[in-house]
């Protein structure tokens, strides 16, 4: 029951203890938070179905995850997320019980126990020269009862024991100039053949022109990386041809298949026979065909599946056979779709599907839900009231320890399954929203904040590979239209920005999507290149936000392209400034708009710009490694801060402040690549309108990577201190000194103050800064700060730690005014005595006992209720929760006992009657006396 009954604020403030931690009881897990586990786009899949019991499939993915999935339901049995630089080359199963994974270009071999995922052994395979990494586990090669794993990597052939991972022998092959492509181990023999090329000569032997085999030489042919026995699969435009290598180097075409999307590896099946699976698209259906070798003519199986067109085309297919109850052979296929989702097909139907595109989120934004339109019927209210009361009686029983075990279960179910939180309408507290996420595959998902379910998904066709756009990638998502005046009849929409290719000067693509329905309203592209996107603080009459897109030629393009937009823009023309950062050259430039572009085709939405200022960092001593600004939509409630002795300090709150961190060019590499004497970290606060450096601070003997967050008038950053061998966090607060004279109440009353004078970047403000540093135990992946609707609630830093947890750290711990012995007045103000390191309180982990594997980002969104902020963190996993940094002072907590309140009221009423009756009687007696 998330009813926010605003109660007497002071009472609750008095009742809530001054505890600084965000804390959670164990039975509150899952009430406001949800956690989803993903694995990413599957690269390899190995089935394990021979023995009865739990059937599973072991997969490795592009997010460097090794996972064992339940073949019946697609759930994760176990998974391991390897480091970002530890890409998996190949996986296989050895001895029927170990999962073997070769990673880091074939230099690390690991084995995990298949049933529970515990690590069994790990081997390091050194080598001289990088080469292709190959893994082969012969089923019948035994050395002293030990199965041998053969690995070719880094130019060496290794034989590794599968029991303990010991390297049995090693042979250098690269020195002889062999480029090994495949390892072959014939059945029942003791000889391994490593097939490869010596230089380039051998490669030419089997050269037969593709056009000789297939009469369409206009398209380029691509060899598909499928492992087939004695065959090669070539893909020419949309046709796949299978070419068999016959004797004496002759090639012959076995089969031609039109509109095929993917081909599986050959599956050894029966004696010396191979089967392969083919997937073709036809309308909204996909067709799966299993063909059997060696003639490949007959179709062993032909099935069609209805497929959601939002999943795109099939990228990969893996097959596995099983024996049906009638002893015939059946096949199941695991397919990987364009949106990175994983599906299991069996007996003509989709058994399960996993939305693994959500493991690679690029950007997140939020959208409001539709407003509730019609009122609720009386019958429903009555029913709800009854249910509600019943629930609360149960809860009361729980508090009074009277509940039976069944009741406890019922209570927990009621709490978790509250239909209120997953409704598809807007709520008064603003807890229910849509999270719009853009995945690497170019798919948009709308997730409901209540329970994390996917409301709609859309595979953006603008981010679909086409001739005009070879390599489309999504970049960002922005709120395009947020209707307030016409909230009932207009839907909000978002802007998706992408690029054709990875370089900054690649043509851009734009797409506008309705957030209620998930329909693409408009799309543009490929257009000019997009280097920078500036959402402007203006909206046109239809409440579309104006956006300024910078191209590589430093021209500004205005969107939306409407006459109204240009009218608004012309009015604000002189007030638009922005900056660009050239990290490689160490230059930050400020720009203004000049005039319309001089192009062949007149374009009134295009503007030339001119440079206003530039800051050039000396390239021999400083290199930019991090820049951060305030969030555009951040709200600051109070400009002044009352400190002890009734003094007032005015925060220097400017939207145009930029924090820049530079390090010595030598120290750009990993931590420890330089000695403390050669390393320094310099931080700057720069006004981006004038280019004035407001503050500069040097940390000697420190090094990046720097993670920073900017909010209100402070910036917090995390770096490594080489001298102390510890991570540090520093805070800089910036105050406006020119307003500091406005202390006198008399002057304020008489109007002799400059508080109402506009803040302008043209004037030179006198600022003072305060700074302090603390040790922090962990290295950090990302830092964010909580944001609330009106900015009254105190702030918490959200730190994504190396253990993929999110730690909430009160900003009060990072206050430059902390001292070892605070005075009584300072203590009353809430200043914590200074300690050398920041405390890590386990109860203040937002993610409690969960991990957001592969954590990459944390997003905070204010709810309408001032005390509460919504936190969404993403990586390979997703985690969402609600936070109340200063406790929920404006609403009752979830475990507030309404039943107890009712009982109290009833008891009071009864007591009033009893006393009334008693007093009446007494009075009567008095009178009779």
């Amino acid at each position: 029951m998330a009813m926010a009954i605003r109660v007497f604020l002071l009472l609750l403030l008095f009742l809530s203890s001054s505890n600084l931690t965000f804390s959670l009881f164990e039975d509150q897990v899952g009430l406001m938070d949800w956690h989803q586990q993903y694995i990413g786009k599957v690269k390899h899949a190995v089935f394990h179905t021979q023995k009865a019991g739990r059937k599973r499939v072991v997969v490795s993915t592009e997010e460097n995850v090794v996972a064992s999935l339940d073949l019946r339901h697609g759930e994760i049995f176990w998974r391991h997320v390897l480091g970002t630089n530890d890409a998996i080359d190949e996986i296989d199963i050895a001895l029927g019980k170990y999962v073997i994974a070769l990673s880091s270009e074939g230099s690390i071999l690991r084995a995990w126990n298949l049933p529970d995922g515990q690590m069994v052994w790990e081997s390091f395979l050194p080598g001289s020269k990088p080469s292709k990494a190959l893994l082969s586990i012969p089923t019948n090669l035994k050395v002293d009862k030990d199965h041998v794993i053969l690995i070719y990597s880094n130019g060496c052939l290794h034989a590794v024991s599968s029991i303990d991972g010991e390297v049995l022998w090693k042979k250098e092959l690269a020195t002889e100039g062999i480029e090994v492509q495949q390892l072959i181990h014939p059945l029942g023999s003791d000889i391994i053949y490593a097939v490869g090329f010596v230089g380039m000569e051998k490669l030419l032997i089997h050269q037969t022109h593709v056009s000789d085999l297939f009469q369409d030489s206009s398209a380029t042919a691509v060899i598909l990386p499928s492992k087939l026995m004695g065959m090669v699969a070539l893909k020419i435009s949309s046709t796949i041809i299978f070419i068999k290598v016959a004797d004496a180097g002759k090639l012959e075409v076995v089969d031609k298949i039109d509109h095929a999307a993917a081909v599986s590896d050959g599956l050894s099946f029966l004696e010396g026979q191979q089967a392969l699976a083919l997937v073709q698209h036809g309308g909204s259906k996909i067709h799966l065909t299993v063909k059997l070798g060696p003639d490949w003519s007959g179709d062993l199986l032909k099935e069609s599946f209805e497929m959601d067109h939002q999943r795109g085309v099939v990228h990969k297919v893996f097959i596995n056979n099983y024996i049906r109850t009638d002893r015939s052979h059946g096949f199941r296929a695991l397919i990987v779709m364009e949106d990175h989702s994983l599906l299991l097909l069996q007996q003509g139907e989709v058994v399960w599907s996993r939305e693994d595109g959500l493991a690679s989120i690029i950007d997140v934004t939020t959208s409001e839900l539709p407003v509730e339109e019609n009122g609720v019927s009386v019958a429903k209210v009555e029913h709800n009231l009854f249910e509600w009361l019943k629930g609360h009686i149960l809860k009361l029983k729980g508090t009074l320890m009277l509940a039976s075990p069944e009741d406890v279960v019922a209570i927990q179910r009621i709490r978790l399954k509250s239909s209120e939180k997953s409704k598809m309408t807007r709520d008064r507290n603003g807890f229910r929203k849509l999270l719009i996420v853009l995945s690497k595959a170019g798919k948009l998902f709308a997730l409901h904040t209540g329970d994390g379910r996917i409301v709609w998904s859309l595979l953006l066709h603008t981010l679909h590979k086409s001739e005009a756009c070879e390599n489309p990638t999504g970049v960002n998502v922005y709120q395009w239209q947020v209707p307030h005046h016409h909230a009932m009849d207009e839907n909000p929409s978002i802007l998706v920005v992408g690029r054709c290719g990875h370089s900054l000067d690649a043509p851009g693509i734009l797409s506008i999507v309705d957030t209620y329905t998930g329909n693409e309203l408009n799309s543009l592209g490929p257009v000019h290149s997009i280097v920078q996107i500036i959402p402007l603080p203006f909206t046109d009459p239809t409440e579309q936000r104006l956006h300024l897109l910078m191209d590589a030629g430093l021209r500004a393009h205005l969107y939306p392209r409407t006459p109204e937009a240009i009218g608004i823009f012309q009015r604000e023309f002189a007030n638009i400034y922005w900056y660009s950062i050239e990290a490689d050259n160490g230059i930050i430039r400020g720009h203004v708009l000049k005039n319309n572009c001089f192009l062949e085709v007149a374009d009134e939405f295009c503007f030339e710009t001119k440079a206003l200022w530039s800051i050039v960092f000396p390239s021999e001593s400083e290199k930019i490694i991090a820049t951060v600004t305030r969030k555009l939509n951040e709200v600051v409630h109070t400009q002044a801060k009352v400190i002890t002795d009734q003094e007032v300090m005015y925060k220097y709150v400017s939207k145009n402040l930029l924090f820049v961190a530079t390090v010595a060019p030598k120290a750009v590499g990993e931590i420890g690549s330089v000695t403390p004497d050669e390393s320094w970290l310099v931080v700057y606060l720069i006004d981006t309108i004038t280019g004035r450096i407001l503050h500069r601070l040097t940390h000697h003997g420190s090094q990046g990577p720097v993670h920073a967050v900017f909010s209100e008038n402070w910036v917090v950053y995390h770096y490594f201190n080489l001298r102390a061998h510890r991570y540090e966090m520093s805070v800089i607060e910036i105050y406006d000194q020119s307003r500091a004279d406005n202390k006198d109440v008399l002057n304020l009353i008489l109007g002799k103050h400059n508080l109402t004078s506009p803040i302008s970047s043209y004037s030179r403000p006198e600022v003072i800064t305060k700074s302090q540093s603390y040790f922090f135990t962990h290295s950090v992946k990302t830092i964010a700060v909580t944001s609330t609707a009106k900015g009254i609630t105190s702030k918490q830093l959200l730190i994504g730690t190396i253990g993929d947890q999110v730690l909430a750290l009160d900003k009060r711990f990072l206050d430059p005014r902390r001292s070892i012995n605070p005075t009584q007045a300072e203590k009353e103000e809430g200043i914590i005595p200074l300690t050398d390191s920041l405390p890590i309180i386990p109860q203040s982990y937002v993610t409690h006992a969960l991990q957001v594997e592969g954590l990459r980002g944390i997003v905070t969104v204010p709810a309408k209720l001032e005390s509460t902020t919504l936190v969404f963190s993403y990586g390979v996993d997703l985690y969402f929760t609600q936070l109340a940094p200063s406790r929920t002072y404006d609403s009752l907590t979830e475990d507030f006992s309404y039943a107890l309140l009712l009982i109290t009221i009833v008891a009071l009423v009864v007591a009033i009657f009893v006393t009334w009756v008693l007093s009446e009687r007494k009075e009567l007696q008095e009178k009779w006396r």
Binding site: L15, S23, L24, F25, E26, D27, V29, W78, V81, L82, G83, R110, D116, Q118, M119, V120, W121, E122, S123, F124, P126, D164, V167, T399, L400, M401, E670, I671, G672, S673, T675, L722, A724, H725, R726, T777, H778, S779, T801, I802, G803, D804, Q805, S837, I840, P842, Q843, H848, A849, Q851, S897, L900, L901, I903, T904, A907, L908, A911, T915, K927
Partner: protein, 170 residues
């Protein structure tokens, strides 16, 4: 390479709780030239009540210098460990916990403390009920009901006045 061939194969049987240790690159005093050293160690959780578990780890190809090892394990707090790999006498490893500057003789990493992520729900007590707003309300009510009449009664001076009034009315 010599180092690696001499070293015994390393078992890494860390429980799923401790899948990885993160090695944070080198604080190289003298950068190693290509072939580095191997750091072998052990993570041991000799638990507090429950059956403990442990496992081994190794980092290969580590250049000589100073390194920092961070252990990430849900439920336990580990101090980062500063490891000095000496170039002069290979295999010699000096390790220091950075949190409390305690030096380790062997590279056996143990958690400093267990981490409890949840608040412990206090068992139901009468005091908590009394302290709650409702309890205060009821308490106040009781005071008004039982204490106030007593106070009134004790103020004896009222009685004659009241009697007088009664007399007058008669």
């Amino acid at each position: 390479m010599a180092v690696i061939q001499r070293s015994k194969p390393i078992f890494l049987t860390l429980l799923f709780l401790l899948p990885f240790c993160f090695l944070h690159s080198a604080l190289a005093i003298s950068p190693g030239n290509g072939d580095g050293y191997t750091i072998n160690g052990r993570v041991k959780i000799s638990s507090f009540g429950l059956k403990g578990f442990d496992g081994y780890f190794s980092f290969h190809n580590v250049p000589a210098g100073t390194h920092l090892i961070e252990v990430a394990a849900i439920g336990y707090f580990f101090s980062p460990v500063r490891v000095d790999v000496s170039a002069r006498n290979p295999g010699k490893v000096q390790a220091t916990l950075t949190e409390n500057r305690r030096s380790l003789n062997e590279l056996v990493l143990e958690p400093l403390r267990e981490e409890q992520y949840y608040e412990i729900r206090e068992p139901f007590s009468v005091m908590s009920l009394v302290k709650s707003p409702m309890g205060l309300m009821v308490g106040f009510m009781l005071i008004v009901m039982f204490l106030m009449p007593k106070l009134v009664e004790n103020m004896a001076c009222w009685k004659p006045v009241r009697l007088k009034i009664i007399c007058l009315s008669k």
